[in-house]
Symmetry: C2
Subunit: 227 residues, 2 copies
DNA sequence: TCAAAAGTGTTGATACTACACCCATGG
DNA sequence: CCATGGGTGTAGTATCAACACTTTTGA
């Protein structure tokens, strides 16, 4: 076996796709990176230190670059093209984290972007900041595209949609999250029934108030029974 | 930015889950690794060299350790627990490759194992060689478990099942592949119809011969139209 | 009283399950 | 002519899309 320490191998990093719903659009946290070009942005990321697990690294980078702690995350995929980083060979493991709606306004020093989607198939995503297209560094447009594809595939049977919502939410809010991720409108009655039939929501007897229309019932997620 | 070359970071490797159907069971290629313990086996793997892409590394390891070339593969997930390899911190990207039925007998210098599955939920897989349980090195049991879970999730809408079959096959053979991956029997009429309704098979006008029953029609996969 | 959004009922179409049955071949 | 597996028909059920409709609030 080769000596692990002296062997020349690529550097290892993690990149974070931190998503939130803003104005009915799916948005990702990006950081300005003027060192990589004018008006260039990149996903938050950082190197994996020796003897640190990937999960530890994600938690560290989350805290250091965004100040967020205690967020759930899951691994997406690993990108290893030697040319993806002009500074050298850096293999990066992409992770997904979801930002519950109330955390958005917590004064984060972060730019937010819109992720649009050309057509229904795969491919890189395009990013917009306040309506104008955004230049993304490295292969981060491809990472965002893969992320949305993955989200669309599992939103129906997983609980990820609720990670983008506050602890108590209306059914319409859940529908908005689904529509933002799928990029198309959904029919309200069908959506409501399918959601309630899953048996994962409990109707708190509280109501949303302050709107100029009939108040909506507030639901909460019941903890998962061991599957 | 830290100097990429002198920075101390984990080593990077890839591991291969090479699957085939044998005797109606899902099997994976493993290699004996007496250096890691008595009667211990591991998935084929190798280190990622500097300035080599992950795909290049997979192709290289496939050729070096199994002699296989030209096989399609796809990324599974990345495992980075510092304790997963007792020799040091090695982060490994797992890849899946599928072995078409006729290649199985091509005199590969490889042991094959059965991967059984306890229950329906996730968790590590258990491996068996000729009926007796097998000791797997590292976290390779977990990798195999995750792989089967992933396969089950996408077998219905992807073409992976056909990568385990020869170029021409009977519908029953396709069903056997699905049953091996899902670990449960399927109803023949429903399976046939769903498969044919996908419109991805063409009926070659040839028939399977030599069996003591009605001959089955041989089908072939039509190339995917750009999705 | 009106606008707006919450929430429910109904209907036709589609897809799936489960079983019964027929067909073609080797022995 | 029998055993074996290939291949098809059908009836009952669950699911889903689409639309119409009623309800409840703030202004």
């Amino acid at each position: 076996m080769t000596d692990l320490e002296t062997y020349r191998h690529p550097a290892l990093a993690i990149d974070l796709v931190i998503l939130a719903i803003h104005d009915g659009h799916l948005c990702a946290v990006v950081l300005p990176r003027d060192d990589l070009g004018k008006e260039t942005y990149a996903l938050p990321g950082g190197f994996v230190h020796h003897d640190q697990s990937l999960d530890q690294t994600v938690a560290r980078v989350l805290a250091e670059k965004t100040g967020l702690t205690g967020l759930a995350f899951e691994q997406l995929a690993t990108y290893g093209d030697p040319a993806r980083d002009p500074r050298g060979h850096v293999v990066s493991v992409a992770y997904l984290a979801l930002l519950p709606a109330p955390l958005r306004a917590a004064g984060l020093p972060l730019a937010e972007i819109r992720v649009t989607w050309p057509g229904e198939a795969g491919g890189p995503a395009s990013a917009h900041l306040k309506g104008t297209p955004l230049r993304l560094a490295f292969d981060h447009a491809a990472i965002l595209g893969d992320t949305v594809k993955r989200l669309r595939g599992k939103i129906d049977y997983s609980r990820i949609a609720f990670s983008l919502l506050p602890a108590r939410f209306t059914l319409r809010q859940v529908q908005e999250v689904h529509e933002a991720i799928l990029g198309r409108p959904l029919l309200k009655p069908a959506f409501r029934r399918k959601l309630l039939d899953r048996g994962i929501l409990r109707d708190t007897s509280e109501m949303q108030t302050g709107n100029a229309h009939r108040p909506a019932a507030l639901y909460e997620l019941v903890p998962p029974t061991l599957e």
